[in-house]
């Protein structure tokens, strides 16, 4: 299922910020210049690639925007060196995986970034393999 839902003006700072299901991956730098903590966005799609790097890892998801148009979501995660301590590896998420991400949307119009995300399978189950 490829479906994307926008939930605008939803205050999610406390709950969503810096939380992942089972596997925490904190983006350490201040996310405020890039992402709007007063809003929440949900992306459901198929993983294109998982870049496990420093200073920040990224997850690329083929999904849809609020209008149903195909877009590529870029989900910012923590530093690989920190994520590894929390149990992540480059194989934790793989290309072709179906995935659901809920987090803060990027600020610049026309961009599809997500930060400080909760990542699960589309059914809500843990992504841990």
């Amino acid at each position: 299922m490829k479906r994307t839902l926008w939930i605008s003006s939803l205050v999610v700072v406390v709950v969503v910020g810096f939380v992942f299901t089972s596997l925490p991956a904190v983006a350490h730098h201040s996310s405020a210049p890039f992402y709007d903590p007063t809003k929440s966005v949900e992306a459901i799609g198929v993983v294109q690639k998982f870049v496990f790097r420093n200073p920040h890892s990224f997850l690329f998801i083929d999904g849809e925007d609020a209008d149903g148009e195909a877009v590529e979501w870029e989900v910012e995660l923590g530093a690989a060196v920190s994520m590894r301590r929390a149990g992540w590896t480059p194989e934790t998420i793989g290309a072709g995986d179906s995935i659901r991400v809920v987090g803060q949307p990027s600020r610049a119009p026309g961009t599809y970034g997500i930060c400080c995300a909760r990542i699960t399978r589309p059914d809500g189950s843990s992504i841990r393999r």
Partner: protein, 251 residues
């Protein structure tokens, strides 16, 4: 302690970089330049790998470690810089390493190795290595760098590190508030043990941008047994990826 002792070597793993540095130092004969104070006095045991991550302290940001109570008093020059600063040009988005007084509070692990003539502080963040010289050597004009030039001494149960010779850094204050630091910046760190914890009070001065010294105190906890610092190998492409998500200051 003998001149060739490496404190804690039986308890803690020594990284390859440290071993390489030891060989280089031995080759140059620098290891024989032992500070009398370090050789004769009972010094603070700070050796180990230390956890400065989120389980230990609040993650850094615009209000941490500089809070409303200890935020430096900026002069008009600093305020002007801050007003025109655009986050998008911050050097960290090009993998320029973090420096004092920010790198000490970055939420990563670090390692301390104490030798008779120097203390090595290695940061997991940005793969940075600071050398704190304990042999009373003086800096030269060639010693200006991102991490500056550090000299140290033991004061009772504490290690005092004084660092100068920083290069101008447009985000040399803390990475978050758009405040630069100058070649006049000096940083004094006092490290001591409090039980299992490592604590540090850092005091920052920069007469080009600050009206008065500013200070914060933080801590580390011992890293899990046998933990070794991982390579950081900052990737410039990933470092800059999120910049496009900002709304530009100048359009």
């Amino acid at each position: 302690m003998s001149e060739t002792d490496i404190r804690g070597s039986s308890r803690r793993p020594i990284c390859l970089a440290t071993a390489a540095a030891l060989l280089a130092a031995a080759f140059q004969g620098a290891i024989t330049q032992v500070g009398a104070q370090a050789a004769e006095a009972e010094i603070a045991d700070l050796v180990g790998v230390w956890d400065g991550g989120p389980r230990v302290r609040r993650v850094n940001g615009p209000n941490m470690p500089w809070t409303a109570e200890n935020f430096p008093v900026l002069n008009e020059r600093a305020l002007a810089f801050q007003q025109v600063f655009d986050e998008a040009i911050a050097p960290k988005y090009d993998c320029v390493p973090s420096a004092s007084p920010a790198i000490q509070y970055d939420p990563y692990f670090m390692e301390i190795v104490q030798w008779p003539d120097r203390v090595l502080i290695r940061y997991e963040k940005d793969d940075q290595l600071r050398t704190v010289w304990m042999d009373q050597r003086e800096p030269t004009l060639a010693d200006y760098s991102i991490q500056g030039f550090s000299v140290g001494r033991y004061d009772g149960d504490a290690l005092i590190v004084e660092t100068s010779h920083f290069v101008f850094d447009i985000t040399g204050f803390d990475d978050y508030n758009g405040i630069p630091s100058s070649q006049l910046k000096t940083v004094t760190e006092r490290y001591w043990r409090d039980g299992e914890e490592l604590r540090m009070t850092l005091t920052l001065e920069d007469p080009l941008f600050l009206r008065e010294p500013a200070s914060y105190t933080t801590r580390w906890l011992p890293a899990p047994e046998d933990y070794r610092l991982g390579p950081y190998e900052c990737d410039p492409e990933e470092a800059r990826r999120s910049v496009k998500f900002m709304i530009p200051k100048y359009r």
